[in-house]
Subunit: 377 residues, 2 copies
């Protein structure tokens, strides 16, 4: 059986400016790292690299959690790993939803056979701590509280520190989705008391897409050890993954790590360490302020109240009468500029302009503003 | 919080010759493809590439199955995707085990809450069709039969064509683990009637590690549509992934594909198409025969009966009195040559020498023989 379609050839992608909700621009340094020769995933030198990646991730998450690793799958698998490891079928989980990804958390809870108690906020608003407090009072038997720190669907930050405190004060475990927040805005896993925090490599880290950094507190590990039933996912069972990412000498085979993507993540994390977290946050903030001011001059209105805007993901209202797909198509085809469409109920109503990681720089910001000026003229 | 350890620097891997059980050597063509600029996973040009990858995978699997895609996670996630989509908690699955990976299949069945009926064969022997036939007669209510085509832990091929026929004659669905077989030995998904076949990119395809090609027959898709309960994994739910990898215009967001790893897979699949499947099989076979003859001259004995040996993965008995780890360490440190240790109950008893994909060539074969000659002297 041969292929029916015409033969294809090597793919040569265009050089886009990536200002959507991820992936963000990947630095040539990171691309070069990813293209170095593949070595075995159990090679002693790769095991050393794994240890170094763990240390760099601890810095990024601001944690001393020993179980801090890059999962060999995208952020949505990171979310699933958080839930399937902490949650059992008889458990109750309080899920705060103010966008697409809170809804995905609900799906995860229910697919564990557990009960999700929903705390709902309008898409575009942060999670309301008072509503969470009331839900905790009403459901003192809940085991876990889960929320999204930076909602990728709306561009909204929630007050993770306060939400974590409310859950910890009630003796509950906390799962924090930091897919879009890690390295873009302040995130202090240990100081805030988060028990599981997961992220993605393709947002403010600007590694290659495909890996999910994740960290588990000692309380989370204890909860995993105290489970009555096996984790329903073999691939994401942290009992097994701990053996693979454990201390050097005891490393035991579980799956084959995405070796070259780990090279890329390592290099991206080195770049973060060189710049420093605070400098990275300040850069994201400064470019965001300039972009927002420029968009405002063009007559475009931000969708989120100033206090809760994510500097790394700018949600903009699409003005009445403009053709969403046409504008995005022109930006892509005439300027090699990718911005994001609205997601879920915001499709056609908002654009999402990312300034994440490597993408957050003056040149991109200027390119975006001049391109918008041209296509809106 | 800064890092306590000394600052680290860019990782420069050595250039190893990868003759273990995977990853195999990655061609410079594939590494170059992976390092091209990242574009968005919903970019129209990436969507075109996804379609091309699907077509090339259909060729590799020898199938016309529409649902033929690269899953965004390693082969062990491919295995999990096969089971969690086909199997529900009330189901019975016949699992043939003759090595590590049949045991992992049992784990997957049980984590779905289903019952695994085991057909056991000695590690190092192929699956015995007569035993499967007897199990099918004894359990006519089983929904699925599952087996490993090429056992990576033992280097043994099983007669996939016969095993598939037995299952299909009984009206059961068949799951085939082709992680190590795809592109290395004959595999005809459609002709043999396999319903789900999954593989990995880091074996005989010599793409970058981290992706699992998988194909579902129309019967498998019908079984997924007929499920009574939701798939327990959100990340691996084919109902959702079908929307992401579906026809171009209807593409809907599910997760972020590992864009650059897909570039690499595309290039690796182009190389396979250029060579042709039959030529690839013949190359694997020829290099295997020369390696086996050379090892025999050195006094090393193959672990598997000739008829069932995998040309891409050569299991060798470790001679009495030799220090397994010391020999492998010398091969690695003095020759940059990686071979595989024994896995599970074969640890310390066998070596696994891979001649997979790009690694299957005359130079590697000669390097391996001369290096063994030196360290065994």
């Amino acid at each position: 059986m041969s292929r029916s379609k015409a033969k294809s050839s090597t793919f040569h992608p265009p050089v886009r400016t990536l200002m959507g909700p991820g992936p963000s621009d990947v630095s040539p340094r990171v691309l070069a790292a990813s293209a170095r020769p593949t070595i075995g995933h159990l090679d002693p030198l790769f095991v050393e690299l794994m240890d170094d990646v763990k240390g760099l991730l601890q810095y990024a998450f601001q944690t001393e959690n020993e179980l801090t690793i890059p999962l060999s799958a995208p952020g949505s698998a990171g979310m699933e790993a958080a839930f399937v490891n902490l949650v059992e079928c008889s458990d109750k989980v309080i899920v705060c939803q103010n966008g697409v990804f809170g809804g995905r958390m609900k799906e995860n809870v229910e697919r564990c056979g557990a009960t999700a108690v929903m705390v709902m906020d309008r898409w575009g608003d942060p999670v309301d701590p008072e509503k969470l407090e009331a839900a905790i009072k009403e459901h003192p038997d809940a085991k876990v509280v889960a929320f999204v720190h930076a909602e990728t669907s709306t561009g909204v930050r929630s007050d993770a520190e306060t939400l974590c405190r409310l859950a910890k004060d009630a003796g509950m475990l906390v799962i924090v989705d930091a897919v879009t927040s890690l390295a873009g805005i302040e995130l202090k896993a240990d100081e805030w008391g988060a028990d599981v925090v997961y992220s993605g490599t393709q947002k403010c880290l600007s590694g290659l897409p495909g890996i999910s950094p994740i960290t588990f507190s000692n309380d989370a590990v204890a909860a995993i050890h105290a489970r009555k039933h096996k984790v329903q996912s073999w691939f994401l069972d942290m009992n097994l993954i701990m053996g693979y990412w454990g201390e050097g000498a005891k490393r035991s085979y579980h799956h084959t790590a995405p070796v070259n993507a780990v090279y890329a993540l390592h290099e991206a994390l080195l770049m973060l360490e060189e710049e420093g977290l605070d400098a990275s946050f300040a850069r994201h903030k400064a470019n965001h302020l300039k972009l927002a001011a420029g968009l405002s001059k063009l007559g475009l209105e931000m969708a989120v109240a100033e206090e809760w805007r994510l500097p790394q993901l700018n949600s903009v209202l699409i003005p009445e009468g403009l053709d969403d797909a046409l504008i995005r198509g022109r930006l892509l085809n005439e300027f090699d500029l990718e911005i994001g469409a609205g997601l879920g109920e915001l499709a056609g109503k908002q654009w999402r302009i990312g300034l994440m990681g490597t993408s957050s720089n003056t040149v991109n910001m200027n390119r975006c503003l001049t391109a918008f000026e041209a296509v809106l003229a």
